[in-house]
Symmetry: C2
Subunit: 214 residues, 2 copies
């Protein structure tokens, strides 16, 4: 069976949970408690030398890291249902939307970056939250403009089939809501996220449904 | 012909230049002057709603954004030589190495993040450089440990064939050297970067060889 080393609130772990559920794969949760620093423990560094979440452990004990690489692997090893459309330009559109979130929002707002702002630059809650909301705002605005203007957008980011882009969008919206970002400014993103969240694979992957949720 | 909207020092533009050269594709350079703020101009925002580099313009005028999505597209549209190995687990390894750079180093050290630290948090050169070097150091250390311990590593990050991982590594090393990071601490990364930099596709893609270099 597959084992996902992750944390209920980690949005990169959440991406992989959605993908595993969409593929109908059996997997078990192995909790890595970020607040207790378990991501920096020798045990977890042996699993993932970066000390970041998530890591997918295969049945034979091999480890895969980086959530976007794991999504691509799952599509190659378990092609149905695909998280990418068939045609190369459509695939490029989906990957570009997904990577806009994975590269240009998440890393800047990850826990370790926010910790650095506090510990090294002496920034408090208001300044750290402003930093968080700044990156969400400029990228959600750009994503909203991309999606609303493009006839390729449907009930999901690309047509009516769930793709990598939706798998990244829903956890990012969950995360933004924790930081009190008002989604009313992004009606297309809010509509797509609401549609996807109601699907069983997304519902079962939600943070509050995980065994380590507090 | 293909047109690459980029900037000579942009490491994400540099990645795509290398890939275009490796594939033997004809392309022309369209300069977007970051220092003059051309990335925020109405003209460029019509090309790329994110206002980030690079954008690949296809012969029919369509635009592709996000360098990692462009690398995947180039591999699908122009399969030879491939930037990914054939086997799914090997592909996952290469993508994970590439994404470690693309997600966990570059976005934190991109010009717009460094500008925010100066303008909003009032940080000066020393603090901004320390932030830059912090993310390079922890990720280069982890990358070095991953590569040195793995028999899959060869003259390149994966065996002896250039892959996505090398295409990301060389521009990141170039960037780190601009910030005076000492590569002696990362002998495997330094060895692979030196090997790849000497290959014609990498040499022709180097920042100092571009028409907008200063």
């Amino acid at each position: 069976m597959l084992t996902l080393h992750g944390y209920y609130r980690s949005s990169t772990s959440y991406r992989v949970r959605i993908a595993l559920n969409l593929k109908g794969l059996e997997w078990r949760h192995a909790g890595v408690d970020l607040l207790a620093g378990e991501d920096r423990s020798a045990d977890y560094l042996a699993v993932n030398p970066q000390g970041l979440l998530p890591t997918l452990e295969l049945a034979d004990g091999r480890y895969l890291s980086q959530s976007m690489a794991i999504l691509e692997y799952l599509d190659e090893a378990h092609p149905e249902p695909s998280l990418l459309p068939a045609e190369p330009l459509a695939r490029a559109r989906v990957r570009s939307l997904a990577l806009q979130i994975a590269c240009d929002i998440h890393p800047l707002n990850n826990l370790r970056a926010l910790k650095y702002l506090r510990s090294e630059f002496g920034q408090g809650d208001a300044a750290v939250n402003a930093w968080y909301r700044h990156w969400v705002a400029i990228e959600f605005e750009a994503l909203e403009r991309r999606l609303v203007a493009d006839p390729a957008t449907g009930s999901c980011c690309h047509g009516d089939a769930v793709s990598q882009a939706d798998v990244c969008l829903v956890p990012q919206v969950y995360n933004a809501e924790r930081f009190a970002v008002d989604m009313a400014a992004y009606p297309t993103l809010a509509r797509i996220a609401a549609h996807c969240r109601a699907l069983p694979a997304f519902t079962a992957a939600a943070p509050e449904r995980q065994p380590d949720a507090r």
